[in-house]
Amino acid sequence: MSMISLAATTVSTGEAITFWIFAPIAVLGAIGMVISRNAVHSALCLITTMLALGVFYILQQGPFIGMVQIIVYTGAIMMLFLFVLMLVGRDASDAVIETLRGQRAAAIVLGVGFAGLVGTAVARGLQKVDARNLTEANADGNVQALAGLLFNRYVFVFEATSALLITAAVGAMILAHIHKRKEERVDQVSMSMARFAPDSYPGPKAGPGVYATSTSVATPARLPDGSVADRSLSPILPVRELTDAEAAPKGTDSR
C-alpha cells in the first residue's frame, strides 16, 4: 500500500453512521447503569454498553478483540455479576440516604469537570491526527497478526497472565470456601436423628400444584383436607389463587 493512500485514510461514511448510532446507545447504557436503583437493571444497562463497545472494536478493524469483548465481557463477566446478584438477593436495590452530605452533588460536579478536562485535552491533542488504520497490520488476518505478537513479543506477559488467572481462581476458591470448625461438624448419626425428629418431615417437600387448569409454580399444592400446603411454595413467589375465569374448563378436551 502506498504512502499516499495510507496518509489519506479517513473514517468512512458507513463507520461514521454506525458510530453515531452506537455512541448514544453506549452513553445511555452507562448513564442508565449509574442512575437505576435496581442492580439487575444496572447490569443489563452495562451489557448494552459493552455490546456497543464490541461493535466499536469490530468497526476499528479489531474483529478478534470485538468478539472477545462480546464473549468474555457480556457473556462471562456480566453473567457472573448476575449470578452474584441472584445470590446476594433480590433486595439489592440501593439506599438513597447520603452518608456524607453533598457527596452526590460534589461527585457530579467533579465528574463534569473531569470530563471537560479530558475531553478538551483529547480533542485538542488529536485534532490533526489521521488514522493510519490497520489494513497493513491485518494483511494476513487479524487473528494471525495478534497471535504473532502475543506469542513473540508479549510471550512473557502472556505467561504472567496464566499465573494471574491461577492465583485469581485459587483466591476465589479460598474466599468462597466456608471453613467449619471441628466442633461445628455434625456426624451422620446426629444428622439422621435430626431428620427423623418429631417436628421434621423426612420426605421431600410437596411440589407446587400441577393441575389441569394451572401448572404455575405459584399455584400451591393442596393437602388432603383441601387446605393450602405452604411448604410447596417458594417464599419469593407471591401466592396465586386462581380466579374463576382461570379455573373454568378451557374446552380443550374433545368431549
Binding site: T10, F19, G125, L175
Partner: protein, 99 residues
Amino acid sequence: MNPSYYVILAAALFTIGAVGVLIRRNAIVLFMCVELMLNAANLALVTFSRINGTLDGQIMAFFVMVVAAAEVVVGLAIIMAIFRTRRSASVDETNLLKY
C-alpha cells in the same frame, strides 16, 4: 469525523464510571462502574492501535480483559464473603474493619 471521537467517547464513559463509583452505595454496582471504566480504557487502547497502525493497542486491551476477569472473580468472591457475614452489600455498612 476522525478517530478522536472514539477517544472522546471513551473519556465520557470513563467519567460516567468514575461518577458512578463515587455516588453509588451497592458494592456490586460499584464493581460494574469499575468494569465500565476498564472498558472505556479498552476503547481508547483499540482506537490508539488503529491510529498508530500497529496491533499493540489491541494486545493491551486483550490483557486488560484478562486482568478484569481475574479482578471480577476475586472481587465478587470478596463481596460474597462480606455478604455472608454482614447480610448486606452496601459499602456504607462495611466499616468494621477498623475495629
